[in-house]
Every structure is written in structure tokens, then in C-alpha cells.
Amino acid sequence: MTMAEISRPAACPACSVAGSAEDLAAQSAPTEARFLLSLPTAHCAACISAVERALNTQPGVHEARVNLTLKRVAVDADPNIAPDTLINVLNGIGYEAHELDAATLSATATDRAGRDILMRMAVAGFAMMNVMLLSVAVWSGAADATRDLFHWISAAIALPTIVFSAQPFFRHAMQALRVGRLNMDVPISLAILLAGAMSLYETTQSGHHAYFDAALSLTFFLLMGRYLDHRTRAVARSAAEELAALEVPRAIRIGEHGEETVAIAELTVGDIVHVKPGARVPVDGVVTHGQSEIDRSMLTGESLPVFAGEGAVLSTGEVNLTGPLELQVTAAGEDSSLHRMAELVAVAETSKNRYTSLADRAAQIYAPGVHLLALFAFIGWLWYAGDLRLALNIAVAVLIITCPCALGLAVPAVTTAASGRLFKKGMLIKHPTALERLAEVDTVVFDKTGTLTLGAPQPTNLGDHPRRVLEIALALASASAHPLADALSKAAREAGIKPAKVHDVTEVPGHGIQATLADQQIRFGRAAWVGADAGAQTAAWLRIGKNAPVEFTFADSLRPGAQAAIQGLLKQGMTVQLISGDAPGPVADLASRLGITKWRAEALPDDKAQLVQALSDQGHRVLMVGDGLNDTAALAAAHASVSPATALDAARVASDIVLLGADIAPMSGAVTTARKATRRIRENFGIAAAYNAVAVPIALLGFATPLAAALAMSLSSITVSINALRLK
């Protein structure tokens, strides 16, 4: 066993999937000349040179460059180089490597949006500092011609900057106004534009007050909030896409010229596809040749493998366990079950986007309030003083002073701090409003197989059998890669059992293993094949000669931290439920082990979604935790959703939060963090409101100066940011 094989499960839970992709890649003749490999264990300068040197000395490799931040290496090579040979080279020098699908990752290769915001922010920062220098001179007493000169220079810097840097706000404000809504960007845009226009007019009239610096610092601070917001989401998105990219979408097609590896998108109905043991079924199809057992737990939640012979119907996402299969494609592309699932997820996305975030709710109260206040100030002063210019000046001052600089930072500062904290604990926050929704949850619904359990069986009744039986069972089990046989041989070896000497060991795909021992035929495998009656539990049977068959039962092993996660959630006063597509026996057993009182077995995918919907209709806020295709609808319907990294891509896409490690324990902490974060956001709104309560009367009475506006703006922004950092 190579080092990479040993370290794989621990270092990267998604690699159980990558295994099959690599198997496929082994026979591939890729057409593209650029490969991306994931290097999860690279961490230092020595790693960079070792990896680059090893790859650059390979014949056919043009250039390899490591990106340590993303833990990836990009290799430019001849098209006939197989990524698998490069992976073997890296494994040889002790680095774990997995191929990444370049097409999936290209979306994040260049972060255009991030660079765009950063560019606008830099321009705003430069302009703000220069204008602030000139403004300080004006505030400290520059008068007459000097003041006018400084104002003119400020205008020359500020106006082009506003046009360039504040564009994102103008664009969002226009979008909102076009559909007849008000968002935070409307008062922001109005304040920036009016401040610029009013200050320019004042400058032409050699007025005393110009708000160029206020308009610019407003733009700068708000862009900072935007950038923080963008960064948080970009980190989560690129990590999520890397998980998806580990599943290289390829299939082995049996064409006229033998086997060839093709992209799944190129398959058409009627093609024959080869599915190797241990690989995931790439398309919907009918078995035309071969026998095997199929693990369909990802689709149905059943933990018992199902027999598949000729004529059996297989769906995308199932795992072929024992024998090689040939499959005729019955649905490809838009008709495949995976594509239908993707459509379902798209529906879920829109329903989640309909959730009004705290920031939006604040904006809905705030924006009209500010506009009315400014209008009130304008009309009031016009009536009282009869001076249009004075009234307009005061109205603009009110708009600037109340402008939600602190409000713009209130949410992103907190979500950045909270997401960073959860990311360190191994949780990926994918959706912008995920934290707020998670904080409101009062009911948690768990899926069983693959979520609370690892989906890996453990023998439960080894102690009931005599030593001789165990020795024979071990001899047969060690000849197969089937998960049950594998689990049995591991457990038996750990118990110090030595395999018995048997002859003519052969595996019958889809049925089991047979051998001879002292002229007696021995069979180890499925109940029907051995000649026993199948029970409710997951089991393998051993029959020695004409003796009665012996049963070996198995139970799924618990995911680490499952106990802690459920205890933590119950302690917070949550209702915890278990719903699974598996048989009642294993579900009841697991529920009692974890202290879950409400459970349901043999649930179809629709049942899961209906349960979540029913709970929502009763007024509960449901958190759904699941990993399979059968959970996708429920994940989408729930108020918030979590899936483990080993989940199918469709399930991960449908969920708000992805658990990166195998341990599920951080989940209960996530709810606590989400609640704390929501409290901080509310506090930040409170701070912004308190500051407005002081500043607004001053502005209304006409005492506001550009200096006061600048001070108040900076002070409130800093207070809000510090309050957000308290989360750590």
C-alpha cells in the first residue's frame, strides 16, 4: 500500500469519490494539456520545490507551478501525458495528490468580481486620503482663495472617483428601483450623488462647506464592507467547487475500437459503458452484461447492497461493489436523474433567495425613513428661512450624516468573523443568509446512512461464533473487496484470528466467495446464494459443506462526533428527528443508541421532503442534515441545511453549510455561533441607530459641518467593526 492510500481517508473525506475518478483517469487519453492536481498536504517552501522539481523532470511536462494558498499544482504538459502518472510521481515522493476537473474550477480561476471591487476600493482610498489632506487644511482655517482652490482640487479628484468607484452602489440601486423596491443602496447612492453635486455647487459659489471627503470616505468604507462580504463567499465557493472538481466526470465507453475514456457529457442513449468494481455508476442505464452488487445508499438510504444482474436498472450515483458491469445508457444529459436533481436544486436556490435577510429588513425601514427625514428638513428650512440654498444644504447634510456607513459594515463584518471561525472548525458557509437562518432553527432532522453513520459496516456478532468458523470466514472474506467482507476480515484480524487454509478460492460477482476445504464446498455471501433465509439485518452467511448456514450480522459504524452533536443540539432545546430510507431495524437501533425518540424508516425521498414541509407548516424552523440524492428535496425544502463533504454533489449544492471533516460534532457549535453572530448584527444595527439618534438632530438643526460628518462616520464604522470582532 502506498502512503497516499493510507492517508487518503483522513486527509480528504471527498476522496472516496476521487478514487473512482482516478481509476477512470488511469486509462484516459486526455485532450487538454493543462492539469490541475489538488495537494492537500503541501504546506511549506520545501514542499513547493520538491513537487515542482519532481514534476518538471518528468518527460513531457513543460511547466509545473504550485499554488500554496489553494494547495494546488497546475501542470502544463503534452496532451498524451496521463494525470495518473503525475499523481503516481507525487505519491512516490510522499505527497497526496488528486486530479481536479479543470472545467469545474475555471469559474473561480480568476476572481474577476473580487479584483473589480479591490480596484474601485484602491481608487476610492487614494482619492479619500488626498481629499482628506486638503479638507484638513480647510477645517484648520484656510480661507477665501486658498479654500476655493482646495475645494476645486478636491472636486477634480472626487467627482471622477465617485463616477468610477461608486458604480456598484448605483447599479444595485437602479436594479432595486426598477422593480419598485428600496434597498440600502438607494440612500447610499443618493447621499453620494447629492453630496458630490451639492459640494460642486457650493464650490462654484465659494461656499464654506464641501462634503467631497464625506462622499469619498462613504464610498471607501462601504466598498470595504462589500469586499469583506465578497471574500467570505469566494472562499466558501472555491472550497465547494474544489469538492465538486474532485469528481472528474468521465466514463469508460465500449466503442468499436475497444474501451475509451470519454466525458460523461459526450455519452448518448444506447452507448455501452463499462463500470468497474468500486466505481460510481456514471449514467442511468440497464445492465447488459455482468453480475454485481450495488450500493444504492446515496439514492435510497438502504444500507443493504442490492444484487444486480442482466436487465437490472441502475441510476446515476449508485456504487458498483463487486463485479465489472456493462451498462446500456438509457438517459443521458438533460434526461438523466442527475440533471433532474439539478433542476430541483435550482428551485431550492430561488426559494432560499426569497428569505429576507436582516440587512434587507433594516433597509426597508431605514431607506424611506431617511428620505422622509431629508425631505422634512428641506421643506422645514425652506418654510422657516426661505433660503433654497440653505435648505438644500441642510437636507444633504442630513442624508450624508444618516447614510448607513455603519449599517453597510454591520452585516459583512460579523458574517466574515463568524464564517472564518466556523471555517477553522471545518464548516463551509455557502449561502449569504445561511447564518441568519441557522440561528432561527428549532427542529433538526437527520438522515441516517452516510450522515449519522459513515456508511461503512462493522461486524456485530463475531463473538457468537466458534474460532474455527471465524478462521474459515476470514480466509474467504479476505479474498474479496466487498465492503462487508472487507469489514469482517479487518475485525477478525484485529481479534487475532488467523485465516484457515482453503483451496480454489473464487469470487462469484454479485453473490459471494466460494472455496473448498477438505473436499467440502464452502460458500460465504448473500443469503439466497448460500441457501439461508435473509433476515432484516445487514448480514453475510457462511455455509460449510452441508451444515446449516451461519449468520454474520453487520451494523453501520457511527460517524465520529454524532453522539456529541446530538447531545449538544438536545441541550439547546432542539427537537431532533431521524428519517431514513433504510429498514426499521437498523433505524430503531441507531435512534436508541443516540437518544433520538422520533424516527421514521423506509421513507421515500418525497416522504422526507413532506416531513420537512409538514414541520414548517406547523411553524417549526427545520434544519435538515443529509448526504444522499434522496435527501436533496428535503435539504432544499428546509429552512437551513447541512451536508457532509462525502455527500453527493447534488446534496452539497442544495445545502447551505458543508462539513469538511468526517467529524459531525462541530454542528451543534455552529448553531451557537450563528445565534451569537445574529445577536452581534442586531447590536450593530443598534449602535448605528444610537449614533443616528445623536447625529440627526444636530444635522436637522443645521449645525452639521463636514468635519463633524467625517468624525461621526469614522467613529461609527470603527465601533461596528470592533463589535463584530468580539465574536472571536
Binding site: C44, A45, A46, I48, S49, R53, V66, N67, L68, T69, L70, R115, L118, M119, A122, V123, F126, M129, N130, L133, T146, L149, I153, I157
Partner: protein, 52 residues
């Protein structure tokens, strides 16, 4: 006060120079791999002669 005629353009020019530098760094992908760049100068791969 006549000094301002020189000082203001100079201060603006220097600021713009910094801004231009930042743009150049952003465009030439200097921010793609901050962790790796921090580590790379520790390697002695090209100490004897520059990378061809």
C-alpha cells in the same frame, strides 16, 4: 503659500504612483498565491544562477 503650486501636484503625483503600483501588482497576478510567495524566497533552487 507659493509652495503649494509645487507641493500639491507632487503629493498627487506620488499618490498616483502608489495607486499605479497597486494596479500593476493586481494585474500581474501578484495576489494569486500570497502563502506560496511568502515561502518561495526560502528555497535555494536558483541561488547559483537565475531561472532560465
Amino acid at each position: 503659500m507659493e509652495m503649494l503650486v509645487y507641493l500639491i501636484p507632487i503629493s498627487l503625483f506620488l499618490g498616483a504612483l502608489g495607486l499605479g503600483g497597486f494596479f500593476w501588482a493586481l494585474k500581474s497576478k501578484q495576489f494569486e498565491d500570497p502563502d506560496g510567495d511568502g515561502q518561495r524566497f526560502l528555497t535555494d533552487d536558483w541561488d547559483e544562477h537565475p531561472k532560465p
